[in-house]
C-alpha cells in the first residue's frame, strides 16, 4: 500500500493561500461598509449645517443664481408625487398580487403576466421617462406636470409592489384560508377578512420600498414632470375647465439641478442630507416591520 506523504512545503503553501484568500474576502465585506459610511459621512459633513436650519426646510426657493431660499416646494411636490403614485400603484399592485396568488390558473395568460412583471422590473427609469413624456405629457396632453410624473412613477413601482405583496400573500398559512372557507365564507370575503389582514405588514413593506424608489427617482421626473422651481406645486389644479397641470421639481430633481450648477452645489449637500435621512427612516421602518412580522408567524 502506498503511504500518504505529507509535503510540508505544500501544506504551508495551502495554508498561506487560505489566509490570504479569507483575508481578501473579509476585506471586501468590510470595504463595502466603509464605502457606504464614507459616502454618507461626506454628504452629511457638507450638508448637515444647512439642512438642519429651519429656513432651509421651510422657505420656498427663490430661483436666483445662488438660491438663498429653501426647499419647501420641493418637499411638498415630493409628498404629492408619493401620494399620487402610491394611490395609483398600491391598489393595482395589491390586486394583481391577489390575482396571481389566489386566483391565477396555470395558463398562458398567467405566464404572460409574470413575464410582463419581470420585464417591467428590468426596464431602466430613463425608458419609463421617455414613455411618460410620449404618452402622458404629449399624447394625453398633461404637459410637464406632477400628475404625468406620478402616473409614470406608479408604473415603475408596480412590479415592486406586486412582487412584495405576492410574497406576503404566499406566506399566509394555507390553513387560515381553509378554516375560513370551511365556515362557508366565499373567496372574496376570505381574502378581505382573513388573507389581507395577515399579509398586511408584508404589503406595507412593499409600499415603503416603493416610496424609497419614488423619492430617489429623478430621470423619469426630468422627462415627464419638468423642472419648474418657484411654482407652488400641485397634483391637480382647478384653474382650467378640467385641470391645469403644473411642472414641479421633487427633492431628487432639485438636487440634480443644484449639483450641476457650481453656484448652488453647496446647497445640494443639504438636499442630499434630507434625502438620505428619509431613506434611512424608511429602511429602519422596513426592518422593524419585518422583525415584528417574523415574530408573529414563527410563534
Amino acid at each position: 500500500m502506498q503511504r500518504v506523504q505529507f509535503d510540508k512545503g505544500n501544506i504551508l503553501r495551502i495554508q498561506t493561500e487560505q489566509k490570504i484568500a479569507l483575508g481578501t474576502l473579509w476585506f471586501s465585506g468590510w470595504l463595502i461598509v466603509t464605502v457606504l459610511i464614507f459616502i454618507i459621512g461626506y454628504i452629511f459633513y457638507f450638508g448637515l449645517p444647512t439642512a438642519l436650519s429651519f429656513h432651509y426646510l421651510f422657505s420656498p426657493p427663490d430661483g436666483g443664481r445662488y438660491d438663498t431660499g429653501g426647499i419647501l416646494y420641493q418637499l411638498i411636490s415630493t409628498l404629492y408625487l408619493i401620494f399620487g403614485a402610491i394611490a395609483v400603484a398600491a391598489p393595482i399592485g395589491i390586486s394583481a398580487a391577489i390575482y396571481l396568488t389566489e386566483y391565477a390558473p396555470q395558463n398562458a395568460i398567467t405566464k404572460l403576466i409574470g413575464f410582463a412583471i419581470e420585464n417591467l422590473a428590468g426596464i431602466p427609469s430613463i425608458i419609463y421617462g421617455l414613455f411618460g413624456l410620449a404618452f402622458f405629457v404629449i399624447f394625453l396632453k398633461f404637459e410637464y406636470s406632477l400628475l404625468a410624473g406620478a402616473l409614470t412613477v406608479a408604473i415603475m413601482v408596480l412590479p415592486v409592489i406586486i412582487r412584495t405583496s405576492e410574497e406576503a400573500l404566499l406566506s399566509v398559512p394555507q390553513r387560515l384560508r381553509q378554516s375560513s372557507l370551511a365556515l362557508g365564507v366565499n373567496k372574496w370575503q376570505t381574502i378581505a377578512n382573513v388573507v389581507l389582514p395577515s399579509a398586511f405588514p408584508g404589503i406595507l413593506t412593499g409600499i415603503l420600498l416603493s416610496i424609497g424608489r419614488i423619492i430617489g427617482e429623478s430621470a423619469i421626473l426630468i422627462l415627464a414632470a419638468g423642472g419648474s422651481i418657484t411654482a407652488m406645486p400641485s397634483l391637480i389644479s382647478s384653474d382650467y375647465p378640467y385641470f391645469l397641470p403644473e411642472s414641479a421639481r421633487t427633492l431628487a430633481v432639485h438636487l440634480y439641478y443644484q449639483a450641476t450648477s457650481y453656484d448652488t452645489r453647496g446647497k445640494a449637500f443639504a438636499t442630499g442630507v434630507v434625502l438620505i435621512l428619509i431613506v434611512l427612516f424608511l429602511n429602519f421602518s422596513i426592518t422593524q416591520i419585518s422583525k415584528s412580522y417574523r415574530k408573529r408567524f414563527l410563534s
Binding site: S28, A116, L223, L275
Partner: protein, 309 residues
C-alpha cells in the same frame, strides 16, 4: 332547534361581489401586460420616426451628433461609451461583490452579517443623484489632482456605477451561494480541503449560474443608469479619446446613450431632435431586452432567482 334562513337577496349580492372582485383582480394583473406593451410601443414608435430624416446605418454608425445645427444624428460614440462604462463598472464590482457575497454567506459571523447586510440594503436605497453628487464633488476633484484633466471622465462614471451596482451583485450572488447544497460543501471539507479550497473548488463552480445571473442583471442596471453618470461624465458628444495619454479613454470626457437623452431633453424641439432621443432610448431598450433574453434563455432555468427589484 333554530332554523337557519339563508337570505336569498343577501346571497345574491355576496356572490356578485365575489365574482366581480375576481374580475377586478384579473384586470389589475393585466395592467402589467398593458403597461409593458404601451411602453415598448410608444418608445419604438416615436423612435422610428427619426428614420425619415436619417438612415438606420447613419444613426447607429454615425460618428457625429449635431442634431440642431447640422442635422447629424450619429450615436456610435455613445454606444461605445455605454459599453465601455458598463464593462468597466462590472470589472470593478463583480469580483468585489462576489467576494462580499462569499464572505456574507460562508465566513462572516452573525454579528458581522448583521452590520454588512443592512449596509448593502441601504446602499441599494440611496438615490442615484446622491451618488452623482458624491462623484462630482469627491471623485472628480480626486482625478483632477492625479492627472491634468477635467476630472469629469469615463473613469469617474465607472467608479460611481460600480458602487451603485454592488448591492444587486451582492444580494443575488449571496442567494446563489446559500442555495449550494450542504452535502456538496461537507463532502469537500471531508476530503480534507481547506475552507478556501472548498469555496474556490466546490461552492463557486456550483453557484456559477447564479453568479452569472447577478452579473447579467447588474449589467442591465449599469447600462440603463442615467443621472449619476450624467453628473460625472462631462457629456461631450465626440468619440472618447482612446490614446494612452488618457489611459485608453478612462480620463476622457464622453457621453453614453442614457446621458444623451437626459442632456438633450432640456432643449430638444419636437421633431427630428426629440424623435432621435426616443430612437436613442429604443437602442438602449433593445440592449436591455437582449440582456433579459440571455437571462431567460440560459440562466433562469439553471437558477430560478426572482428578478432583482
Amino acid at each position: 332547534m333554530q332554523k337557519y334562513f339563508i337570505q336569498k337577496e343577501k346571497r345574491f349580492w355576496t356572490n356578485l361581489v365575489n365574482n366581480l372582485m375576481g374580475q377586478v383582480f384579473f384586470l389589475s394583473a393585466f395592467i402589467a401586460v398593458l403597461s409593458l406593451f404601451l411602453i415598448t410601443a410608444y418608445v419604438f414608435y416615436n423612435g422610428i420616426q427619426v428614420f425619415k430624416v436619417v438612415s438606420l446605418k447613419d444613426f447607429i454608425f454615425g460618428f457625429e451628433w449635431e442634431p440642431v445645427t447640422r442635422k447629424l444624428f450619429g450615436i456610435f460614440p455613445m454606444i461605445i461609451t455605454s459599453f465601455y462604462v458598463t464593462i468597466g463598472a462590472l470589472m470593478l464590482s463583480a469580483p468585489l461583490g462576489i467576494a462580499c457575497a462569499v464572505f456574507l454567506a460562508e465566513i462572516a459571523p452573525l454579528s458581522a452579517q448583521q452590520i454588512i447586510r443592512p449596509a448593502v440594503q441601504l446602499l441599494a436605497g440611496i438615490p442615484s443623484v446622491i451618488f452623482g453628487l458624491f462623484g462630482l464633488s469627491f471623485i472628480v476633484p480626486l482625478i483632477q489632482t492625479f492627472a491634468e484633466v477635467a476630472g469629469l471622465s469615463i473613469l469617474a462614471a465607472i467608479i460611481i456605477l460600480s458602487v451603485m451596482i454592488l448591492p444587486t451583485i451582492i444580494s443575488i450572488s449571496e442567494d446563489a451561494i446559500r442555495a449550494v447544497p450542504k452535502e456538496l460543501k461537507e463532502s469537500s471539507i471531508a476530503l480534507g480541503t481547506t475552507k478556501w479550497q472548498t469555496i474556490y473548488g466546490a461552492i463557486l463552480p456550483a453557484s456559477s449560474s447564479g453568479l452569472m445571473t447577478a452579473i447579467t442583471l447588474s449589467l442591465g442596471r449599469a447600462f440603463g443608469e442615467a443621472m449619476a453618470v450624467k453628473m460625472v461624465i462631462g457629456n461631450t458628444q465626440t468619440m472618447p479619446d482612446f490614446s494612452p495619454d488618457t489611459l485608453f479613454g478612462l480620463l476622457s470626457l464622453a457621453r453614453t446613450l442614457t446621458t444623451n437623452i437626459i442632456g438633450d431633453i432640456e432643449y430638444a424641439e419636437p421633431g427630428p431632435h426629440l424623435q432621435s432621443l426616443f430612437a436613442t432610448g429604443a437602442i438602449l431598450f433593445i440592449f436591455i431586452i437582449f440582456t433579459n433574453a440571455i437571462y431567460y434563455l440560459f440562466l433562469k432555468k439553471a437558477y430560478g432567482v426572482r428578478r432583482a427589484q
